[in-house]
């Protein structure tokens, strides 16, 4: 398998439970070193998709290749190269952090000589080096989540699949965890993470796929989706005085709408950041410029807008 071939390649992936179709023929791929976000409400099919990719649940229809293997027929090869951090990960409470990792290391089949060094390095990297010999029962949720990440680091995977890695964490712990996820990317590990916390995920995802009742409703980079859903995407707010501003601003290339929000206040909707052009236009009109600010398209806005138009917040099936 060459470096350029995708780590995940999925065609028409479908999952049916009894008569209910939970995942309805989705197609996507993830490239090496990419952080790919699966976003959507609970019950939209994110976790089911992840379990299918890991070979932990049967695929009803369609094809999947994960790190070049078929998760149905070659689950061991897939699981050897893929790390998985489940939603609310659990550990054996009566064992220490290092003992928990040691059990996993044995299951993976790491040679004894390498085992201890890798465990120590992984614990150190997630900041658990000093509590490695402590029992996991004393660990906070954030520490457990980091221990889960240490397991993935120890495994030296090609792909890390993280299911709701930040749910239930305090802001500080969330930032730390996301920072660690970014270091994975720097090492060339592809990361696929699912979440319903959009603002956090936006920061680190290269591309996202928005799930809606078993379908991928939207897929692409955040700015792309912004253009697609919010029309413009960028909102530029201007506060200025004098001149025929409205007409001049409307002439700027890329501006799709203009709205007067108050006396001397305008809001431009554009498909890119048009602040330099707007500033020039204001100056040319002979007006005084007081404020010029831009609001980049947020995933939150895209998400809300999409589900408003798609009708309701999606089906809320059991997660």
């Amino acid at each position: 398998m060459t470096a350029a071939s995708p780590v995940i390649d999925v065609h028409d992936l479908t999952k049916r439970y009894g008569g209910v179709t939970v995942v309805k023929g989705i197609t996507f791929s993830v490239q090496p070193g990419e952080i790919f976000g699966l976003l959507g409400p609970n019950g939209a099919g994110k976790t089911t998709t992840i379990l299918m990719l890991l070979g932990l649940t049967d695929i009803s229809d369609g094809e999947a290749r994960v790190v070049g293997f078929d998760p149905v027929r070659e689950p061991l090869s897939v699981k050897r190269l893929v790390g998985y951090l489940p939603d609310t990960v659990g550990f054996y409470d009566h064992l220490s952090a290092a003992e928990n990792l040691r059990y996993t290391a044995r299951l993976i089949g790491l040679p004894p000589a390498e085992r201890e060094a890798r465990i120590a390095a992984a614990l150190e990297r997630v900041g658990l080096g000093e509590v490695g010999t402590k029992r996991v029962s004393a660990f906070s949720r954030g520490m457990r989540q980091r221990l889960g990440l240490a397991e993935i680091l120890m495994k030296k995977v090609r792909l890390a699949i993280l299911d709701e890695p930040t749910s239930g964490l305090d802001p500080q712990a969330t930032v730390e965890l996301l920072e660690m996820i970014k270091t994975l990317k720097r090492e060339g590990v592809a990361v696929m993470l699912s979440s319903h916390l959009l603002d956090r995920v936006q920061v680190i995802c290269d591309r996202v796929a928005l799930f809606h009742s078993g379908n991928i409703a939207l897929m692409g980079t955040v700015p792309e989706l912004g253009r697609q859903i919010l029309g413009g995407g960028f909102n530029v707010d201007i506060e200025a005085e004098g001149g025929q501003l409205q007409e001049r601003l409307a002439l700027i290339p890329g501006v799709s709408g203009i709205e007067q929000t108050g006396p001397g206040r305008f809001r431009l909707r554009a498909d890119r950041d048009v602040r330099p052009e707007a500033a020039a236009a204001v100056v040319h009109a002979g007006a005084k410029l007081y404020t010029l600010s831009v609001e980049a398209p947020s995933l939150e806005a895209i998400y809300t807008r999409y589900f408003e138009t798609a009708g309701g917040g999606g089906e809320r099936n059991a997660a």
């Binding site: 976790t47 932990l56 489940p86 550990f91 299951l107 089949g109």
Partner: protein
């Protein structure tokens, strides 16, 4: 469709981990003490009785296992009663415990199959219980040497060893049952209650019920039919099977486990012992029944577990 690799990859790792969990758990400690203390009590009673009543017996040692002195039951009765408890104690949260600790999906995302996890847990349970049974067995024989002052002969040792093996098979039945419930029920408490409930039913209620049902369905038939039907029904309980095997193996004078006509006894010398092989032949269906029961229960659990969704 063929899956790659061996279904048992990682089995040894799982067995060792589960074994160390069992051996260090407080639950096991309690069970061990319970069994050892009751065994010593039963043995002490048996030795008193043996000293008082048996002047000359070819199989004095085997009496240690089977003799009771009021108010204590015999060692084998204790075992028949406690072995299911120990097995249920180790098995009732084997699988649902992994779900409840949320370790299941993490462990199964490692390069192993579910087969290895389930087999590993079963083997570790059987090994743990076998270790304590072996210790108890040696304890009884050792104390017998000390207190009786005579060594057991080869045939006694052979019979005692068969008794140990049969007891391990009996453990397997109850462990497989407890693990089946731990797979079927998501809550460990429910699984424990169901296992204990079934154990009580099969041990205390079923033998009486079997006679009653047999009487109802064979009303009007001759007595031999009634007894045979009642016995067949009672043998659905592993406790009954185990008791019958013990009766044949530890008491060489046992000639039949079912009803026997006087005509069949013609020419037999009452009370004379049978060779080991003959005793085994008498109990063979029961032994096979116990082993088959363990396998069937395990297979049911295995199938349910394979089809289970990882997401709890």
């Amino acid at each position: 469709m063929r899956r790659e690799g061996s279904a048992l990859q990682g089995l040894g790792v799982v067995v060792l981990k589960e074994l160390s969990d069992h051996l260090t758990s407080a639950r096991m400690r309690v069970l061990e003490w319970l069994v050892v203390l009751t065994a010593i009590a039963a043995l002490y009673g048996a030795i008193q009785q043996v000293r008082d009543t048996t002047a000359e017996d070819l199989f004095l040692y085997l009496r240690l296992f089977t003799t009771a002195r009021e108010p204590l039951p015999s060692f084998v009765s204790f075992l028949a009663f406690l072995v299911p408890l120990m097995a249920i104690g180790l098995g009732f949260d084997a699988v649902n415990g992994e779900y409840n600790r949320r370790t299941m999906s993490r462990i199964l995302s490692q390069p192993i199959y579910r087969d290895a996890l389930l087999f590993g847990k079963f083997i570790a349970g059987v090994v743990t219980l076998s270790i304590s049974l072996l210790a108890m067995w040696l304890l009884v024989i050792g104390l017998g040497l000390l207190l009786l002052g005579i060594p057991p002969n080869a045939e006694e040792m052979l019979r005692a060893f068969i008794f140990l093996l049969v007891t391990i098979a009996y453990v397997g039945v109850w462990l497989a049952l407890a693990m089946l419930f731990s797979i079927v029920f998501k809550s460990a408490a429910t699984a424990a209650l169901f296992s204990l409930g079934l154990w009580l039913f099969l041990t205390a209620i079923w033998p009486a019920l079997a006679t009653f049902i047999a009487g109802a369905v064979t009303a009007g038939a001759d007595q031999a039919t009634q007894i045979t039907v009642a016995q067949a029904l009672a043998r659905l309980s592993p406790g009954t099977l185990y008791g019958e095997v013990i009766a044949a193996v530890l008491n060489p004078a046992t000639r039949s486990l079912g009803p026997i006509f006087l005509s069949q006894m013609q020419g037999a010398i009452p009370g004379s012992p049978l060779p080991v092989v003959e005793s085994l032949m008498i109990a063979w269906p029961q032994i096979v029944g116990l082993v088959a029961g363990a396998i069937v229960l395990f297979v049911i659990g295995y199938v349910v577990f394979q089809r289970q969704e990882v997401r709890a």
